[in-house]
């Protein structure tokens, strides 16, 4: 046989314990024994994340992504841009999540028929065919509890009786004939701060990455424009295909016919020229003494540049050194857990009260005889600040054209910690 047949040949789903629980082939069947090479790599990897994304085998290549503790392993036979496959696999996961709410082994097993129907539509001969969620939803209705019950009683189907018109239209991302009694458009401006803070509290690197997620439920074919007070802040942007690029280039206005439902309109990067405000600080005192089996552990959190907003849902986690046996700590608020196996310490702080700063103090016990760990642990912090876009980005106005009704519009801002690390 020729070495032809590009793109994705087969897909295997592997759970955390290393079992294949679903397989799908788009061309001739590839034996699942091909996954042995994957399992071998899995065994070698110390952490689940350490499995290399691309694994060569004598006749095939395995490209995998790990999400929700499931490996999606695609089998490739010949040269293909690896990102092509990776991006597609992530799109598959997104679709599952969209359909089943969660993308878990149980959910996939429960909905195996829908999964199969979806995969069938998403790839033709290994080449992506329909990956827009709006089109897929017209082809295959997402399962709901009600529909499942009705289907079992009446024997009706998940498969849309109507054929998708979106696939053929000028705006393939939007289904046609959308109707709502309440017309609403909500936009969430969500910014994440990625930062590395060094021992002394100074910022090594910090950047802001933002997205605008939208939930648009509007009747007909609305044409929206969204403008910003300060579009100059946006340094690097990537758009949903619906956004008219030229309009953005010329006027810095987002003009688009939205998909129906939830979608990510825009992701952006705030130019690195702007100084990034760091909303929390950490005071830490973690020390291990040579020869002693005890170590000191003290953490205090406090708000820094929060523009007067409250810092909420704070969660501190830290991977303690391997030599640590146990931790005996007392938090001033919230709860903490320490897993003696993985050595993962996590402290659910909740809201930071500026008048009474949360702290976690106590001692950690080391293995007797073990030498002093040479690195202090890194502290990862998660938090949320409502009603604030830390970069200062503000939406100016949202207008709708093309339809006559008046929609309800809403814009929400939020700042979150992305990869926010404090080295100690």
């Amino acid at each position: 046989m020729l070495a032809a047949a590009k793109m994705i040949h087969s897909l295997f789903l592997v759970n955390a314990s290393g079992d294949i629980f679903l397989e799908k082939h788009w061309k001739s069947v590839v034996s699942r024994s091909v996954c042995d090479y994957f399992f071998e790599a899995l065994e070698r990897a110390t952490e689940p994340e350490n499995v290399p994304p691309v694994i060569p085998t004598p006749h095939h290549f395995l490209i995998n992504v790990l999400r929700h503790r499931i490996y999606f392993v695609a089998v490739i036979q010949s040269e293909v841009p690896p990102l092509f496959v990776i991006e597609f696999l992530h799109r598959v996961v997104d679709t599952f999540q969209d359909y089943f709410g969660v993308c878990s082994e149980a959910a996939i097993k429960d909905n195996v028929v829908v999964v199969y129907e979806l995969l069938e539509e998403m790839l033709d001969n290994g080449f992506p065919l329909a990956t827009e969620s709006n089109i897929l939803k017209e082809l295959i209705k997402p399962p709901t509890i009600l529909r499942t019950v009705v289907n079992t009683i009446t024997g009706s189907t998940n498969v849309g009786e109507q054929l998708p018109t979106g696939q053929l239209s000028v705006v393939p991302w939007r289904r046609t004939g959308v109707k709502y009694t309440n017309n609403e458009a909500y936009f969430d401006v969500v910014e994440e701060i990625d930062a590395i803070i060094d021992k002394s509290g100074s910022t090594i690197t910090a950047e802001i990455q933002g997205v605008i997620d939208a939930c648009v439920k509007l009747t007909g074919m609305p044409d929206l424009t969204l403008s910003f007070m300060n579009p100059r802040l946006l340094d690097d942007v990537s758009f949903h295909p619906c956004v008219r690029f030229k309009r953005w280039e010329a006027e810095r206005i987002l003009s688009f016919i939205p998909p129906d439902g939830n979608f990510r309109l825009l992701s952006y990067h705030v130019s690195s020229q702007n100084l990034v405000a760091i909303p929390v600080y950490v005071k830490h005192n973690i020390s291990f003494r040579e020869g002693s089996s005890q170590g000191r552990f003290e953490l205090t959190l406090g708000p820094k540049q929060t523009m007067g907003k409250a810092v909420e849902s704070v969660l501190v986690s830290s991977q303690l050194p391997r030599g640590v046996l146990n931790a005996n700590l007392s938090p001033s608020q919230g709860t903490y857990t320490f897993d003696p196996v993985t050595k993962l310490l996590s402290w659910d702080v909740g809201k930071i009260n500026p008048q009474k700063l949360p702290s976690l103090k106590g001692s950690v016990s080391l293995q007797t005889g073990a030498s002093k760990p040479d690195e202090n642990p890194t502290i990862n912090i998660q938090f949320k600040i409502q009603q604030l876009a830390i970069s200062g980005l503000k939406v100016n106005r949202l207008d709708m054209y093309g339809e006559k009704y008046k929609p309800f519009k809403g814009i929400k801002y939020m700042t979150k910690a992305g990869k926010f690390q404090v080295r100690t």
Partner: protein
């Protein structure tokens, strides 16, 4: 020896598992009882039971269970009405057809039937499944289906056809030649839906046939932004390869003004000017590609961004590369797997061009939560980016990494420090000192790596050893890790001449502890002893002998062996042969310094963004990127002769060159317009030529003036007087309705722009009412129609029905004659006349378009003129909107459509006013049941060949002398029937083609002159129409007067 590489990043290492990949498939069949249950369910009458059974079967397939024994029961349901059931059967069929070939054949007829379905989605899905059934025996059926689908009206079906090409090719590579033909045809397709898929097929089947791309290159570049994202990736990769074979290198002069003058070239306008003064001028097509891919850097699809980045890397002048940096860095925010691939590519780029990524250095800082392979890649990039200016920052960062809990990563950091130390001489000492400090680390990996790196560093700098070796000797007592101890001993021995005092002392200490050391350390003690014996035998002779004696009785045979060997080599005695003379040269031979370089050094031999690049080994199916040609191949191969499509004889060769220049004018938007403009210009001019040939009326010469002026669109606009004339007519003809946009006669350019604007603003429903009254405007109409055809393809407005391979063309001749529908006497003052507009009907694609002129010759206003709902005959009629009031002596023109169903049977209906009803009937002439089409002469002959025998009717006539000229033949024929003129290479043969309005059957007419006789041949499936036409042609051509 010390050749340890604890760097465990060995993805590329091929697993050594021997179990054959395609070995026995898990064949756990389903239990028998279960299977018979399912069979029963499938054979039941209840849809719901069948569906349930299929769902369970799909569940089994998903688990990898073998359900093939149910094949006969499943395949029966292939024609089910239930869509979900049918789809699940498809899933099953595709999975098992290969194993059950004979039974699979039972389903084929169902698909063949579905291929003819009026619904495009059903046609597409049938083709999808049919082509997925890997049964060699149906190859001919597949081939036929693909060929047919490739000319389907629906772009979606054509897209499916492109996918099917690859499937058929992998099933039967012998079909290659035929498939290439289909690919060639589909490459010409203007739909964005098709473009990605057909290029994919091209890459699969015939990637070496670069010549097929030439003519489609510019179109692909221009369509790219609107193609779906997966198609974009494929097209960009293909165009990268294409460009490397067609354009000359933009890098030639670069070396001179490369990094230094970068600033001066940021401004693109300026840049072009500067470039023009240089000997290198970028091919405009090359520039077009770069410009049209740039916006895609903003795509949300990481594969697209990567594809554009690699395109720029391989094709853009070096100073333009910086624009991809930001986008690549943005991708690092994406999933772990994406990061992995992107970082690899950045690593390769950063070796050659540090400057690109240096400003983003901090984005490559490692986080403790990164996966090991991500960390290692970031480290690699940081090392590549290190230079004198930033090295201190980088080293400070490295210090944190060395302490990492991930020891493999810490070891990799030490290697990275070593590389920095060799590359940047300013920091060599600092690095060495830092590394020496690490020797006291508790972790064996770290120490071992440090020693290895120190060892390498010392070897590259043989002059300043002694200090560090002394320092290491001092630390020696505190170092416990055997590997590190062994390494230090090796260094002592190797450079014992630089530390003449310390080395013997170390040996003395070691002699004391020899028995307690680890084996690797013992071996190195023996080594050290031997080397010292050779260089400094006076001080160490006894020590050496003592150690050799200890070694002789060691428990480890390796050490005993080594001892015996060394003793024979260095201690002279009778038995030792010639070898001992060379002892010194053997032991003290200069060891080559290891090279410290990036693992990504030679990665750029692979095209970036490919699988081969990621793996650093060539994957099957990898297509090599060729080197730039020294001399650019002929540029004109990419020129597209728009004219050909319109079916007119080739004309105005010079035009293409001119349009070239226009293509690459400033903004893209304009460019698109212009392209459209030029394509319609082409057609308008072509048809104008035809009309010139057919009559020399004043109007027509006027017309050709206009079209030639429209050609030089930009520079010269039409003369004012002409415009006025048109606007006047516009007013007269325009009919206003609130919800329908009516575009009548505007100058073509304006019309095109308006249309474009409308479509740009994405009005989905465009009602374009086309009506025509005088031949004067034929050309306007042509260009508009062509524009619509083009736009329809472009924007997939499927409602516009145009057969693509048999491109519909505009009517060559529209008769002025009106026929009476209702005489004013019978109509009590209301009179009606109708004429055939010969345009495709907008109300339905099987309708004939008619224009009705209603006049009121009474002295009272007539109210509510309309066509009655009930029609006496079966024809489908699209009525005109009721006319509320017609004033006395006024008249109004309306259009309507009638589906005559390809028969000359009259359409009878009631024309009503408020008070009266009049029965009227329209009797179509057979020639009005046709629509003109264009095709190439070759296609014509081919199609004619298919319509022989029963389908052919011919007659010989004697021509009247005045009819012999080509113009008159053409004029006669096209006045009788609405058909298009086909260019003919033979002088005495005239060809015409059309299709029937309702069924779309081809009607081919040819007139061969053999003075004084002529043979008229008509080929069509519709034999009745054929013979009727023949009769009419006979009369027309033999009558002396029209």
């Amino acid at each position: 020896m010390l050749g340890m590489s604890a760097n465990s990043v060995s993805y590329n290492e091929q697993g050594s598992v021997e179990s054959g990949v395609d070995a026995a498939q898990e064949n756990s069949s389903i239990p028998g009882s279960f299977s018979s249950d399912l069979k029963e369910m499938l054979e039941s009458n209840k849809e719901s039971l069948k569906l349930e059974a299929m769902k369970r079967i799909v569940g089994l397939i998903a688990k990898g269970k073998n359900a093939s024994e149910l094949f006969p029961a499943v395949v029966k349901n292939v024609a089910s009405k239930n869509i979900e059931l049918k789809k699940l059967v498809y899933v099953y069929l595709v999975r098992y057809a290969e194993e059950q070939q004979d039974l699979a054949l039972l389903s084929i007829s169902t698909f063949q039937r579905a291929l003819k379905d009026p619904n495009q989605l059903i046609r597409a899905s049938a083709l999808r499944v049919l082509s997925s059934i890997r049964v060699p025996i149906i190859v001919p059926i597949m081939m036929l289906a693909i060929k047919e689908a490739a000319t389907d009206l629906s772009p979606y079906v054509r897209k499916t056809a492109a996918h099917a090409i690859q499937k058929l090719y992998s099933l039967d590579p012998d079909q290659k030649e035929h498939l290439i033909e289909v690919i060639e045809k589909l490459l010409k397709d203007k739909s964005t839906l098709v473009a990605g898929s057909v290029v994919m097929a091209f890459e699969e089947v015939c990637p070496d046939r670069i010549d097929l791309i030439h003519k489609n290159y510019r179109k692909l570049c221009n369509l790219l932004v609107d193609v779906e994202e997966w198609g974009q990736v494929v097209i960009i990769h293909m165009l990268t390869r294409y460009a490397r074979t067609q354009f000359v290198s933009p890098w030639r002069e670069d070396a001179m003004f490369d990094e230094n003058n970068e600033k001066a070239f940021y401004d693109s306008e300026e840049e072009r000017k500067v470039e023009q003064t240089k000997p290198y001028i970028m091919d405009p097509d090359h520039r077009l590609l770069l410009r049209n891919t740039k916006p895609l850097l903003q795509s949300r699809n990481t594969a697209v961004v990567m594809a554009v980045s690699q395109l720029y890397w391989h094709l853009a002048p070096k100073h333009e590369l910086s624009i991809i940096t930001k986008s690549l860095v943005r991708l690092l925010r994406s999933h772990r797997e994406v990061q992995y691939v992107v970082l690899q590519n950045i690593a390769t780029m950063s070796i050659q061009r540090k400057g690109m990524f240096e400003p983003f250095m901090k984005s490559f800082y490692v986080r403790s939560t990164d996966a090991t392979h991500i960390k290692t890649l970031k480290l690699e990039i940081l090392t590549n980016l290190a230079n004198e200016a930033n090295i201190s920052t980088i080293l400070r960062e490295f210090q944190t990494y060395v302490k990492s809990q991930d020891k493999a990563f810490a070891a990799a950091t030490i290697q990275a420090i070593g590389r920095c130390a060799t590359n940047i001489s300013e920091v060599t000492d600092t690095c060495l000192n830092g590394l020496v400090l690490l020797l006291s680390n508790r972790d064996e990996t770290v120490v071992a790596e440090s020693v290895v790196v120190i060892k390498k560093l010392l070897q590259t700098q043989p002059s300043q050893h002694s200090d560090i070796i002394k320092h290491m000797a001092k630390l020696f007592d505190n170092i416990t890790v055997p590997m590190a101890r062994a390494s230090i001993l090796w260094l002592m021995g190797e450079y014992c001449e630089h530390v003449p005092k310390i080395a013997p002392d170390v040996l003395r200490k070691m002699a004391k502890t020899f028995t307690n050391e680890e084996d690797i350390v013992k071996l190195q003690i023996v080594n050290l002893a031997a080397k010292l014996y050779l260089t400094n035998s006076k001080q160490t002779k006894l020590l050496t002998q003592y150690i050799l004696n200890l070694g002789k009785y060691d428990q480890n045979y390796d050490i005993r062996d080594r001892t015996r060997f060394i003793r024979q080599l260095i201690v002279p005695n009778e038995k030792s042969g010639a070898l001992s003379k060379y002892a010194r040269r053997i032991l003290m031979a200069p060891k080559p310094a290891p090279v410290l370089q990036s693992a990504f050094k030679d990665r750029d031999r692979f095209q970036l963004g490919t699988l081969s690049h990621t793996l650093n080994s060539q994957a099957s199916g990898y297509l090599e990127l060729s080197d730039w040609p020294a001399v650019a191949p002929d540029q004109s191969v990419r020129n597209v002769e728009v004219v050909k499509e319109a079916g007119a004889p080739a004309l105005r060769k010079s035009k293409t060159a001119k349009s070239n220049e226009k293509f690459y004018s400033d903004s893209e938007e304009e460019e698109e317009e212009e392209e459209e403009g030029s394509s319609s210009e082409g057609s308008s001019s072509s048809s104008s030529e035809e009309s010139v040939s057919e009559s020399e009326s004043e109007e027509n010469s006027d017309d050709s003036n206009k079209s030639s002026s429209s050609q030089s669109e930009k520079s010269s606009s039409e003369s004012d007087s002409e415009k006025k004339k048109k606007t006047l007519k516009n007013k007269k003809l325009q009919q206003q309705k609130p919800d329908i946009l009516i575009i009548t006669y505007l100058p073509p350019q304006i019309m095109q722009k308006t249309l474009l604007l409308i479509i740009m603003t994405k009005y989905i429903l465009i009602h374009i009412v086309l009506s025509i009254s005088t031949q004067f405007f034929v050309n306007c109409m042509c260009s508009l129609l062509h524009l619509c055809v083009f736009l329809a393809c472009q924007f997939d407005v499927v409602s516009w029905h145009v057969h693509v391979s048999l491109q519909a063309s505009s009517p060559v001749f529209v008769p002025e004659t009106s026929h009476e529908l209702l005489h004013r006497m019978t109509g009590k003052g209301l009179s009606a006349q109708y004429r055939f507009t010969r345009q495709p009907c907008i109300y339905g694609n099987s309708m004939v378009s008619l224009q009705l002129t209603l006049s009121n010759s009474s002295d009272q206003a007539l109210e509510n003129i309309h066509i009655s709902e009930k029609s006496s005959t079966g024809q489908n009629i699209h009525r005109f909107n009721a006319i509320e009031r017609l004033e006395p002596q006024a008249s109004v023109t309306v259009s309507m459509g009638v589906d005559f169903n390809d028969s000359t049977q009259a359409a009878n209906f009631q024309l009503c006013t408020k008070e009266d009803e009049f029965s009227v009937s329209i009797q179509p002439a057979v020639g009005e049941l046709l629509l003109p089409i264009t095709m190439s002469e070759a296609d014509f002959t081919k199609e004619q060949g298919k319509l022989m025998g029963m389908n052919e009717s011919s007659a010989t006539i004697t021509m009247t002398p005045e009819n012999v000229s080509s113009q008159s033949v053409n004029r006669k024929v096209v006045s009788v029937a609405n058909i298009g003129v086909i260019p003919s290479s033979q002088e005495n043969i005239y060809r015409f083609a059309g299709k029937t309005v309702s069924s779309g059957s081809l009607v081919l007419v040819s007139v061969a002159l053999k003075d004084p006789d002529a043979v008229i041949t008509i080929n069509t499936e519709k034999t009745v129409i054929g013979s009727m036409l023949l009769r009419q042609f006979k009369t027309a051509l033999t009558n002396s007067c029209p």
